[in-house]
């Protein structure tokens, strides 16, 4: 494409082929743009979190610090909801166990990223994984399935979600209960709708989709029988095991 003088492929192989460039700003930007449809949903959730934090007597600084360090909406909500009267050692262990259980689905989500990022340097991948949330996971799966190869895509999407999550707790904290009903505009269903949209191209006929079928059924049964957070873990594990029987 270009002469060797302008593109010294021997000194910088990543620059030799623009399609294979890694950790670029362009990839970062594309990732940030790809998660934009999730911004209204995250904003509503962040405002609700800010409201709950204010009602629970946290200072604004404490509420934002938790968002900036933990960066896990469901964990933060559940922990605030079950905050103990006194912080005994046992209560702290209980809170941390709850946080681990609520976020255990990320063990499986993280495993799906190994084929994508396995060849990348650990010193870049592990900081990027701090910003792993469902929106940028979904968008990066899609980006890689369409041939994208820049891991900065996930970082860009994660940073965009992070900034939204941290800053949008402020209006919620100040406005208190003035958060509108997200159901009015269907915002509460944006995330499930994205899951469904991603599911459609993953369906490759019944004999090659056992993981999907078994995962869905196991999650439904677990949810029906036990409730709580177990359905995701049981569904993902059952589907993953059933995937062994998929035709190639």
């Amino acid at each position: 494409m270009t002469s060797p003088e302008t593109t010294p492929a021997d000194t910088n192989p990543d620059k030799a082929d623009p399609d294979n460039a890694r950790w670029t700003f362009a990839g970062f930007r594309r990732g940030a743009l790809d998660v934009l449809p999730f911004v209204p949903g995250i904003t509503g959730f962040a405002m609700a979190y800010g409201t709950v934090a204010a009602r629970k007597g946290m200072t604004l600084f404490e509420a934002l610090l938790m968002s900036a360090t933990v960066f896990a909406g469901v964990v933060q909500m559940v922990v605030l909801d079950s905050w103990p009267g006194t912080l005994s050692f046992a209560a702290i262990v209980g809170i941390l166990a709850l946080a681990a259980l609520v976020n255990a689905r990320y063990l499986m989500i993280g495993a799906t990223l190994r084929p994508l990022f396995g060849g990348e340097p650990a010193r870049k991948v592990y900081p990027t994984l701090f910003f792993l949330v469902e929106p940028n996971w979904l968008m990066s799966l899609r980006y890689y399935s369409k041939g994208g190869r820049d891991p900065a895509h996930m970082l860009g999407g994660g940073v965009a979600m992070y900034l939204t999550w941290v800053t949008m707790a402020v209006p919620g904290f100040i406005a208190g209960a003035a958060v509108g009903n997200p159901k009015q505009f269907g915002i509460d269903l944006v995330m499930p709708a994205f899951f469904v949209a991603i599911l459609v191209p993953l369906w490759r006929g019944p004999r090659r989709s056992y993981g999907l079928i078994v995962g869905g059924l196991a999650a439904f049964a677990t949810d029906f029988l036990f409730g709580g957070f177990w359905y995701l873990i049981v569904g993902a594990l059952a589907g993953c095991l059933a995937g062994v029987f998929n035709d190639d």
Partner: protein, 103 residues
């Protein structure tokens, strides 16, 4: 109420930060330590689909008719147009319409 013991609060926060970060990296780390044969390869290939299906199915069942029609609209648009942005938009629009109708 959150206890006014600032030290305890920061201990919990540090612990939560660590626990949540470990859930984000542990799956990635662990799979990197395995020798990936054809069986594990197939399981890994099936994993995104099973996580997504497991996430959606209870929402679909518990969300009542409003979630059912909205997510069906998303699936239909996706099957015929293959454009996820419009599929999600259609789902949200149908959900908003269903809300207005009192579903």
């Amino acid at each position: 109420m959150i206890e006014k013991d600032a030290f305890g609060f920061f201990v919990v926060l540090a612990g939560m930060t660590a626990v949540v970060y470990v859930t984000r990296i542990a799956g990635y780390w662990l799979i990197g330590r395995l020798v990936i044969g054809p069986r594990v390869r197939r399981m890994l290939d099936a994993l995104p689909g099973s996580i997504i299906a497991a996430t959606v199915v209870p929402t679909l069942v518990q969300g009542g008719p409003r979630a059912l029609v909205a997510l069906s609209a998303t699936a239909l648009v996706m099957i015929f147009l293959r454009r996820d942005f419009f599929a999600v938009l259609a789902g949200a629009a149908v959900a908003a319409g269903a809300f207005a109708l009192g579903l």
